[in-house]
Assembly symmetry: C2
Homo-oligomer: 222 residues x 2
């Protein structure tokens, strides 16, 4: 930093908000309000407001609340995309985040988000398709070694639901007995007394669980 200051780039945050819908990962999009790409569906995002955001995470919270009606959901910094070419207006920086939310929380948000399959989101402005790709890679990579995928489920869930989430995220079938053994050995869940949910047909009642800690990272693959 020896030189005098240089022209400053545009700085925004963009959020890859993922949820589960019909057993597949979907990404939440909003129509852009302004040029460029006005009206086109795009990642949830916006300018960093230097006057009101203490840091980038605060900008994410503000934007999630204002544009998607969401509070207190899980998000994590993903990667920063910064180049001369990604925005037609100017050299621009997008600090990107990925966020996971359960379908029921999303339904209560009261904002109409467009959900598209995360693997094939269709045409998107800027480098948003690359950003989504990076989010999926991260989810797959880190998902196998952490409880991050559980953030796609409601707070209380069954072992089978948890296994299904991991299978979706990792894209492979897992052995049921081995999965249960590992989850139990990891000691990351606690039983919930809760009322067993309604089932169509009669069957042995399921144990309900919740995460002991918001985020646990382990040593080996689930």
């Amino acid at each position: 930093m020896a030189e005098t200051e240089f022209p400053r780039p545009i700085v925004t945050v963009d959020i890859v908000l993922l949820t589960l819908r019909e057993e597949r990962l979907h990404v939440a999009l909003l129509p852009r309000a302004a040029e460029p790409f006005a009206n086109m569906a795009a990642l949830i995002g916006g300018y960093v407001h230097t006057d009101e955001d203490a840091d980038a995470g605060a900008a994410v919270k503000r934007i999630l609340k204002a544009k998607a009606g969401l509070n207190g959901i899980f998000f994590e910094q993903l990667k920063t995309f910064a180049s001369a070419s990604r925005d037609p207006r100017d050299w621009s920086v997008s600090i990107t985040y990925f966020a996971l939310v359960s379908q029921d929380v999303l339904d209560e948000a009261g904002v109409t988000l467009e959900l598209r399959p995360a693997e094939a989101p269709g045409e998107l402005p800027f480098d948003h398709a690359d950003i989504i790709k990076a989010a999926l890679e991260r989810l797959r990579g880190k998902g196998a070694y952490s409880t991050i995928p559980a953030r796609l489920l409601p707070e209380v869930f069954t072992m089978s639901e948890l296994q299904a989430i991991y299978e979706t995220v990792m894209g492979e079938k897992l052995d049921q007995s081995a999965f249960r053994r590992k989850i139990n050995d990891l000691n990351i869940l606690e039983e919930v007394e809760g009322e067993k949910r309604q089932t169509e047909r009669a069957r042995r009642p399921t144990t309900l669980y919740r995460l002991k800690a918001p985020l646990a990272v382990f040593d080996r693959r689930i």
Copy 2:
């Protein structure tokens, strides 16, 4: 992005350049040329030059070459630090990178870098201490599942040297036979015919290896 544009923050890149020295990880620092914190040892970094850098990675390459005399070394994006408080001048964004270099390459660079123990780098400007902490965490985390630590070695190395690097990075002793078995099973190295290096005392000659690919990520811990 519905609003008109907002005041733009400062955007810089900062690099945590790590190397091995006396069996320990050290971070390379340079005295700051300008205020704030003029003359204080700091991470290698600088403004993004919107007129000449195509993207953030290009800024990193330019700065590594100009300020540290280094070309073609391994680096990877770490995390972006962005807040109102990290720089006394203004709201600022630092896109940070971590880079690994072998001691011999560093010695040939011809630039005087200050090396301090990465675990205890002493007083540093801005949030550079936090950035170094993040780099070490990343190295430890990702190091156990990839060939990243090998970037701290010269291109050709012995199995024992490789094991020592992993032990340093992960902070624990590894079993020799298990280590060799795993590395062999992973099939990430190729033998090099090379002349065996001089040793002080007589002993069985070591096989020399090099990485087959620049970066391999695997599924389980080494």
